[in-house]
Amino acid sequence: MKPIKNVSRRSFVKSIGLASGGLILACNTSVFSDKEKTPENLINFNPNLFVQINSDGSVVLIASRSEMGNGVRTSLPSVIADEMEADWSKIKVQQAVGDKKYGDQNTDGSRSIRYLYEPMRKMGAIAKAMLISAAAQKWQVPEVECSAENHFIIHTSGKKIGFGDLVEIAKTLEIPSDESLTYKNPKNFKYIGKHLKGVDVKAYANGSAIFGLDKRLPHMKFVAIARCPVTFGKVKSFDKSAALKVSGVEDVIEIPRIEKPFGALGGVAVIATNTWAAFKGKEALKIEWDFGENQQYDSEKYMNQITQNVHKEGKVGKNQGNINNAFKNAHKTIESTFQLPHLAHAPMEVPNAVAWVQGDTCEVWAPTQAPQSTRKEITDYLETTEDKVTINVTFLGGGFGRKSKPDYIVEAVIASKALNAPVQVVWTREDDIKHGYYHTTSAQYMKASLDKNGKVTGWLHRFALPSIVSTFQPGVGYAAGFEISSAANVPFEIDNLKVEIGQAPAHVRIGWLRSVINIPHGFSINVFADELAYAANKDPLEFRLNLIGKNRIEDTQDPIKYDTARLKNVLKIAAKNAEWGKELPEGHAYGLAVHYSFYSYVASVVEVSMKNNKVKVHNVYTAIDCGTAVNKNTITSQMEGAAIFGMSLAYYGKITAKNGAIEQNNYNDYKMIRMNEIPKVHVEIVDSSEKPTGVGEPGVPVIAPAIINAIYKLTGKRCYNLPLADYDLV
């Protein structure tokens, strides 16, 4: 294992004896050099607690990241358990509260395993070393004669002792130094790299898993909030008389807007004895709004405006070679324009939170991807200190980025403080669809030149989309660096390449949704590359492999290397599994796409047919290279789910605004893929000993363009925009 950076050697780990007779190991974990991290995060090291061994042999392992279907409550503890040779059946997983002592807990960016794989191994290695020392001391033998195996320490003589029986001695020992730690040979892993079942599956299946929405406190009030239909509009006046007549409604109060990225939107809150009464009371409110400047937002007109912006020169994001000369000397040029709408996260569990403010203390139970920023927002609002604020992380009924933004939790805190009672704020599904942090909408213009052999000589990619940064810095009108890189790092061997950014101010809150900028860029790049293959009269697979070109490390100025050999490899595997080139049933065709995101490589080949002018996806062959595969069960299910998530956005995903208000309401007009529409998803995970990289998001971006490319192959018609519902194809 390579040395871990940025960790104070002094007191990296310290042991704390517990009154309960347990051994706890504490250490630092924010240890990665990653350019996404701010220096502030890197230097804020605090002691962290991950392992507890009890004298009865039971072991408690901490999951510091949020569980939302990503499988972290299984994968992270399994890494510790494997390295310490713990028996998985004796493990209990405990969810961490939000606290900096656990290092970075933001569960987004597909980085839980990427950040924590090595630190979790280290937690296990430290525990194992101390148990071995304890046994050696007890037996009065050299440590080298002892080894750990399946919850026992074994001496070369054959005698053995269970972990639990070593607790008394182990807790008196010094923490071993980093240098003295030994790690398992990966070929001896018992859990890592296997198909490990989720630790919570049973609780999910019998209804006992407690999501945020299921949290109950004695005398808890239920709260529904009416928010302005237009983003950042304000309450002018309201009449609560009809709402107060609803049976079960107890009170109506105004919720102030907190002008912060994750602040409450503000509105009028109905306080009731049950959720339904709160919802009914909310419907009965009569509110006059001051809509504010975003009421001019019309997403259709806006699309025309940003499309115009990409049909003229923009700010330069990357410029390599001479694109003008390439176009001037071209045998052929191709140009296309792509338009993609806003999307909403729409996790099955709506935003909700339980909060109880008592004096200057506050306790929260919430489905949150970001317990630490939640803690900070609440601390700021209550003007208290973080030690007075406890954030309990419940199960999340889906997150997809929505639950990274704790605006809904701040609302619960405001209400609890105002009412001096425990409250649960529950968003209706309509609230969720209409008041989100939307995935950006985008216009993209692409132009490429081909020489007479069909080789691409020039590539221009111009895009305009409201930036996530606008949520943090109102007024920002252009995409930021992290929203440019997936276009600038296009892995094609092209001499003349230019990326330009057009203006696109935001009129709704823009947020990150599973795969983020890779959705629009993965779409346009993959569809356009397919278009070029046909323009060059080449097979799309052969053309794409040639376009990626020779094996090399792309210059992405990133510590994790972008290896084009791995990119080509996943494409070849997906094609091989699909038997690319074989004769398909009449009216069926394949389409392909390949994309690098969150440091992982994913390719999908999809099989599509058309019947009565409607698309049907029959098979999806996905290959992923995410470096070391920690839990193959999770990786497989994430790829299966990503195919469905990608299909939902390809078929139906479209959020529109008129007069500043979101037009969609619920799952009836913001539709999802259902059981009758699913393909068979076949997943292959590349064997790799590289560092583990992202899994939750990288499977999504390839799906929509692969479907579009298959439709083209079938019909000769190229769909440049999404969703397919707008073409009446689904």
């Binding site: 999910y204 299946a205 959720t275 729409a346 299966e640 059981m675």
Partner: protein
């Protein structure tokens, strides 16, 4: 007062007769396995069995449910327990939130049909949305349950 019979137990509750069964189950009686997903009967998260038929409890007033046998995810029915076992065996859930509704829909299917085809599964499960996209495993788990029943 309204009396609801849920999982074989009687509950007397004092609520408005038009309160949807979902909220009576969750907020008044306190069984939180039944989930709110959409409130308009299009996502299936709130499904319960009403006299062995699957219904979206967000659309059924408690007055209609009174006097009927209601089974929630916390309840017992042979097919439900077998399906739950298959759900675990095939590691169906991701986030898990929609799964109670999925399991209730699948239970209702197997209660009526010993050996459903893929098309019959589609038809029975079309009312249940899973945003994580676990459909493929749900389908496999239903088939596995059927196979287990045949073997026994």
């Amino acid at each position: 007062m309204i009396t609801l019979q849920i999982n074989g137990e009687k509950h007397q509750i004092d609520v408005s007769p038009e309160m949807p069964l979902l909220w009576a189950i969750r907020d008044i009686i306190g069984l939180t396995g039944t989930k709110y997903g959409c409130g308009i009967g299009v996502c299936g998260s709130c499904k319960v069995l009403l006299n062995n038929s699957p219904v979206q409890s967000c659309m059924i007033p408690v007055s209609v449910a009174e006097g009927q046998n209601i089974t929630t995810i916390e309840g017992e029915s042979k097919n439900l327990q077998l399906l739950q076992e298959s759900w675990g065996e095939l590691n169906v859930p991701q986030c898990g939130f929609c799964q109670p509704g999925q399991l209730i829909a699948a239970t209702a299917l197997l209660d009526k049909n010993d050996n459903p085809t893929d098309d019959e599964i589609d038809e029975a499960m079309i009312g249940n949305i899973c945003r994580c996209g676990t459909y493929q495993r749900i389908k496999k788990a239903i088939h596995r349950t059927v196979e287990l029943k045949k073997q026994n």
